[in-house]
Symmetry: C2
Subunit: 226 residues, 2 copies
């Protein structure tokens, strides 16, 4: 294992897709870490001290030094444990730029449209968000074709930066699919991504940390009830 | 010079702070490039083809391969010309993560509050944006103290990633200061950043590409007239 106990700690919460990104990256690198779960609705002294700007999870503490923002953590883990496990970002500068571009796109376009479905107050607003989410996935399907080069993941033979960026939302995507009675990762609309989504969830580095859909459903209901 | 003519092209426009970021990065690396200016209000065939997702400048074309999104371009330039000029991002993974964090903060918090001043429809909304912009700069002043380690720039002895992220907005900040009749980079509120701002604009890699405040003012008036 690449890290001694206590050396690496992650402040997080199990339902957060952003925390999940950090956990998958640490798993891919075989880094042992202590998972410090925040209580829902509270912010620990350690969190406030470690991320005073945003006061948000995830925060990675490496030898007590905090790293904030999920994709910055993923990139940090890749570089700090460069010799452990697999590479998460490609080595080639141009390939790196492409992977960064699509990771930004996922947070910028896919995420708001997916959550727009859950937040929609009217059938019209919901239908609009669904169309936007499908359109974003269609572009991501094309990106998958290019980046994966015919292999299993955006990262090629194994999970990479873009896989983590998009894959972390899969738990919540399933909740939204159930609540809205539709399929986002649709076999006909985006066949490559539909297969990829199953493959991602079944991956060794993911399956133990991906929250169960039922637990997320309960959590979502609790949030709605508030 | 690090690149032959025609090898590197930048699709942009002179008033854009995002395009300016790419230009400063290319200058720091001593990379020669062809500057392809888009006509205002139009989108060239080359732009639409090179950035079909966002259809926005800047786009860097390196051997005809497009790189989009300003800070991704800056990082690409740093890596693709690793041996030319100076390093833009620090080599240490933890330092890199810190610099990335503050660059994201600048686009996420400082930029909207600064433009909020210009867009404000009421005195109340304007005052609120001014307070937010000052608060963001106060945090950036603290970040400057940490990152610069007592030297001239966020990047230490010379312009780095965070300098480019924030510095590219200085032209527009001056326009907003004039229009709103106030000082954003204030000597009393944020003394380090006030000095830094002057130093940034006077830097060799910046002074030729930083748009003149008067020209930006005219451009802003033209935009308002539309």
């Amino acid at each position: 294992m690449a890290a001694a106990a206590g050396e690496v700690r992650l402040i997080g919460g199990w339902p957060s897709p952003f925390v999940l990104r950090a956990r998958v990256a640490l798993n891919l690198k075989g880094v042992e870490y202590e998972f410090l779960q925040e209580k829902f609705g509270e912010k620990s002294e350690l969190l406030l001290r470690s991320n005073p700007v945003y006061k948000k999870v995830p925060v990675l503490l490496h030898h007590d030094k905090p790293v904030c923002e999920s994709m910055i953590i993923v990139e940090y883990v890749d570089a700090a444990w460069a010799k452990s496990g697999q590479a998460i970002l490609p080595a080639d500068p141009y390939e790196r730029a492409l992977h960064r571009f699509w990771a930004v796109y996922i947070d910028d376009k896919w995420f708001p449209s997916m959550f727009g479905i859950a937040k929609a107050q009217t059938e019209e607003a919901k239908a609009e968000s669904v169309e936007q989410a499908w359109a974003a996935l269609k572009l991501l399907e094309e990106a998958f074709e290019k980046l994966s080069k015919g292999k299993a993941f955006f990262g090629g033979g194994t999970i990479g930066y873009v896989d983590i960026a998009l894959g972390a939302y899969l738990g919540w995507a399933k909740v939204i699919e159930q609540m809205a009675g539709l399929k986002l990762f649709d076999e006909e609309k985006t066949p490559l991504l539909a297969v990829w989504a199953e493959r991602f969830c079944a991956h060794e580095a993911v399956k133990e940390v991906m929250p169960e859909t039922e637990k997320l459903m309960e959590f979502a209901k609790m949030l709605r009830g508030k």
